[in-house]
Symmetry: C2
Subunit: 306 residues, 2 copies
């Protein structure tokens, strides 16, 4: 069992037009108690409050693209972070134009942020690493949409090997880090102890992939291979496949086909068109293709792996 | 009794920092069933839905100033108007910089609006007429705040005189409009009938003034004289008068002093700082100065005159 948290909270499941109690897209990814915000539709700061998430703990915000339902809550969130006395730096990753949109609004409101805001422009090239932290990398996924659009792949770094409890007393303190990293142990008397006798395999590294908004895009499959949780947009049913194609969105069946091809553990559906009163119809369609499909919902928390 | 509607729906009563179930500032003014939106904080489109107001009926939006809690819901509202097939023109009145903020975001999202959007830049000069419709004028109020900021004065045009039901048969059809407009009647036989014998006074024209955000500003008083309803911000209590002065906001007592000096019929308070769990403390303070004070609340509807 994994003890270090890795989960996704879905704050909104709606598409471009808010309706039916659905909010626009925003997610909080918790990796080892670090909080990462992915997309930030209008009202996200309120949804964070409702979910009981302290937004001052968020240090990185990732914006997929510049359709309003994915970023219009960002200025309000930045403003509230500022007014509530934030001092720690904030990193925003998104399309280059987003910086101009933020800057013009800070200027117009006469706001001088009390914290440092670092903007990192994203180019939609799959595999580009945009964040490299001690336990985590975040890399980009090139989605296919009407605007430049990136998904985000959160991948734990491989953990160190575990020391066997029954052998740990044999390993001198100063050698333990090296053994965890896979080295064999040479005792003072020259005895060679193979690493495999002293350690157990680490827990497998987990991964979460976020793909919204995108047309059906098989080129993503190698990058999504065997992730523990894949969030994939499912705006329409197959009955509206033509509309999906025209607007560069996906059907639930297409999302499920991507999940099946990539052999992911679980598929999480979202970005439901307001025409569907109940998202159940989208789930049914996905389940027929990929049985480990599930629906996101407002405030839902989904474990990654484990 | 007035039969033509004139009312204000307050969608949000919070100040810069949303909290305590309060939403940022937005109001819908209904004048003779025409709907006018005043300010548009984040989430306004959702609040309109909750209030059961069809936002496609709004043709004019007035933005007081460019602090986020007064305009950050505008892009989402414009986007939803567009996605829901709006075709009728939309007029936006606000500080000049707002146009650039809208344009950069429409461009970044690749949105080509299906309806005409007309932008009218406001200069904070009290008395400037920004809208002149058959039954209504809207003019500006120069507020005193950290940014250029305008209030809005909605004033009914004087109605025509009413024809006395017991005399109306004496007035030839083609003369009735002239009599309503105040002319005397000359009968075919030369008899002169004074207008006063044929008509009754029209209902008095009503007025609503919106003042947010502003420091205590006695220069407003002549422009607010005897309005039926004055909305005035009341961000703080007198205990925080220094903070009010520093941030160019008003205390509840200051709002009430303005109301008393202008001899308005009723004072409506709003824009409550998040530090006040209950706005009651602000009402108590205002009532001590001006007895016809009341609190706005989320979704509250307030009649203008009548």
């Amino acid at each position: 069992m994994h003890h270090r948290p890795f989960s996704v909270t879905t704050l909104g499941t709606g598409a471009a037009l808010p309706a039916r109690g659905r909010y626009p897209t925003a997610q909080v990814v918790n990796v080892h108690d670090g909080l990462y915000l992915v997309d930030c539709g209008e009202g996200t700061q309120e949804r964070l409050r409702v979910a009981g998430i302290n937004f001052q703990r968020i240090n990185h915000i990732f914006i997929s693209h510049l359709h309003g339902d994915h970023y219009l809550g960002l200025m309000g969130l930045i403003s509230s972070m500022h007014l509530m006395g934030r001092q720690s730096p904030l990193h925003i990753h998104g399309p280059a134009d987003l910086k101009a949109i933020i800057d013009i609004q800070l200027r117009a409101s006469g706001t001088w942020l009390r914290f440092q805001m670092h903007f990192h422009a994203t180019d939609p090239i799959s595999g580009t690493v945009v964040l490299d932290e001690p336990g985590l990398t975040v890399s980009l996924l090139a989605l296919r949409h009407r605007l430049p659009c990136t998904g985000f792949l959160f991948r734990e770094k491989p953990a160190l090997r575990g020391l066997r409890q029954d052998r740990v007393h044999e390993i001198p303190q100063f050698k333990r880090q090296a053994v965890k990293e896979g080295e064999d142990l040479i005792l003072p008397n020259g005895t060679h102890v193979p690493n495999a006798d002293l350690t157990v395999d680490p827990l497998p590294a987990r991964a979460y992939a976020y793909c919204s908004d995108t047309a059906y895009e098989p080129a993503l499959v190698p990058f999504l291979s065997k992730v523990d949780l894949l969030y994939h947009e499912a705006t329409f049913t197959e009955a509206l496949a033509a509309r999906a194609k025209e607007t560069l969105h996906s059907t639930a069946a297409q999302a499920a086909r991507i999940a099946a091809s990539a052999e992911v553990s679980r598929l999480l559906l979202g970005h439901f068109s307001s025409r569907y009163k109940h998202a159940d119809v989208l789930l049914t369609e996905a389940l027929a293709v990929f049985p480990r499909s599930l629906l996101s919902f407002e405030g839902g928390v989904f474990e990654v792996g484990g």
